[in-house]
């Protein structure tokens, strides 16, 4: 159990918690979508300070965690080629593929480089014209503008030896898929403010209305999360289902117009598989026809690689909120951050890694379906 004086403003935290306790009469299951929010909730023990009737479900908001095994295997197949310099954020190097990871390839002499920006990969491409340089472009709406801009620059500058392995996913279709699932237990959502700062909030009121579910946009600081929970609980108790913005900084309804124009030019919506969840229609982006030439999947002919997920790892159930990490038999035994079976144990934003790091073995078990309200 954490103590309130560990919060940046204990008085305000106490005030918000008092309001949440006073307002709560029913049992409510609320999903935080963002991996940063999950980390914050577990690190600060927010879920343990809430009324017994409120359960936090950790959603699929970790970009490393939802990248399908199949895409990891495609990355590995490309990175193994002697003519390739494979560039990625550091988080992806330890994500296990079917038989190895990017670190293993690097240790065997493969040219795998950790970069800070896709623009760094573009620079590597210009400095190494005799090599193929590939950047691993994963993530949600937040990471897509930088990748889009880099491909735009590759085209504008004429850098033929650069390409992007794309596995971009979108939050609103995932919320719809979660709500459509027969095993869905979610009654309210905390959405991520920094996602909305790119795309705006346009898609959310329709989702709140269609699924009669409150959606509250908030940040990932502990006080942001408590305020988001407070507003969600008030909606649930009052039978409302609206989009509310509780983010500390203003989220313009239209998002970032420059980034949106770039995204519309470079990417087009496509069906995407989510690790542990499966195919969600219209839930991702791929390069548009005008930029298909820079698509690594086509360039290296890895489209034929198909991989099934691990039979032992239950991260799919964790990502859907059907299982808490420590309820998995492999948690902390066969599966640790040093030897992860699944991506939720790899990334600091993954629910399994957060539970492991903060020794959260005493969290109540997941409620059965139908016990939410």
């Amino acid at each position: 159990m954490k103590y309130l004086d560990e919060f940046s403003n204990p008085d305000l935290a106490r005030h918000l918690l008092d309001q949440i306790h006073a307002a709560t009469t029913g049992n409510w299951a609320i999903m935080e979508v963002c991996g940063g929010q999950t980390h914050s909730i577990i690190r600060h023990g927010i879920d343990q300070l809430l009324p017994e009737g409120i359960e936090m479900i950790h959603g699929p908001g970790c970009p490393v965690c939802v990248t399908p095994l199949e895409v990891i295997d495609k990355a590995l197949a490309i990175a193994e080629r002697p003519d390739v310099i494979f560039c990625s954020f550091g988080d992806m190097l330890r994500v296990p593929g079917s038989s190895q990871d990017l670190f293993r390839i690097k240790s065997r002499g493969g040219d795998v480089r950790v970069v800070y920006s896709p623009l760094d990969a573009l620079t590597v491409a210009r400095e190494n014209p005799d090599k193929q340089v590939v950047f691993f472009g994963i993530g949600f709406e937040t990471t897509a503008p930088a990748n889009a801009m880099t491909v735009y620059q590759a085209k504008r500058l004429g850098v033929p030896n650069f390409s992007l392995l794309v596995s971009h996913v979108l939050v609103p279709p995932a919320i719809a898929a979660i709500m459509e699932s027969p095993s869905c237990r979610v009654q309210g959502f905390l959405a991520a403010g920094h996602v909305c700062s790119v795309m705006g909030t346009a898609g959310y009121p329709e989702l709140a209305d269609r699924y009669r579910v409150p959606i509250v946009v908030t940040g990932f600081e502990p006080l942001d999360i408590l305020e988001g929970i407070r507003r969600t609980v008030l909606q649930l108790e009052q039978g409302r289902h609206e989009l509310e913005n509780a983010y500390a900084r203003a989220v313009p309804a239209a998002g970032n117009p420059v980034a949106r124009r770039m995204l519309e030019d470079v990417f087009e919506v496509t069906d995407r598989a989510w690790r542990g969840i499966g195919m969600i229609p219209g839930s991702g982006w791929r390069l548009s026809d005008a930029y298909r030439e820079w698509d690594a999947e086509a360039r290296f002919d890895v489209g034929g690689i198909h991989t099934d997920e691990s039979a032992i790892c239950r991260s799919g159930e964790v990502l859907q909120g059907l299982l808490k990490p420590h309820e998995c038999a492999a948690f902390g035994k066969e599966c640790t951050p040093r030897n992860p079976l699944g991506a939720t144990m790899v990334s600091s934003e993954g629910a399994c890694a957060a539970y492991y790091l903060y020794r959260r073995l005493d969290t109540p078990a997941t409620r059965p379906v139908g016990a939410g309200a």
Binding site: C34, G36, R43, S197, E349
Partner: protein, 89 residues
Amino acid sequence: MCLGIPGRVVGMVPGFGDQLALVEVEGAARKVNIGLLDEAPAPGQWVLIHMGFAVETTDAAGAETAMSGLEMMGRPRDDAVLDHPGPGP
């Protein structure tokens, strides 16, 4: 992977079509692409940098919030500057 790293604009880098600004991030000068902003930020303006791009303008309070967020995620400031694009989404 989704959060911005705060920095303060020093000035534009000549010769890159007004696309690159020099930004001070925790005492280190970085070249940052400003092509995703509506207009070029003035010297002294705080920006949030994501994957090498300035994605939002902000103020000193917003910059401190962003940096404390990165620390909350368990990433020392120097590491955040050098290695990580930040948590997400």
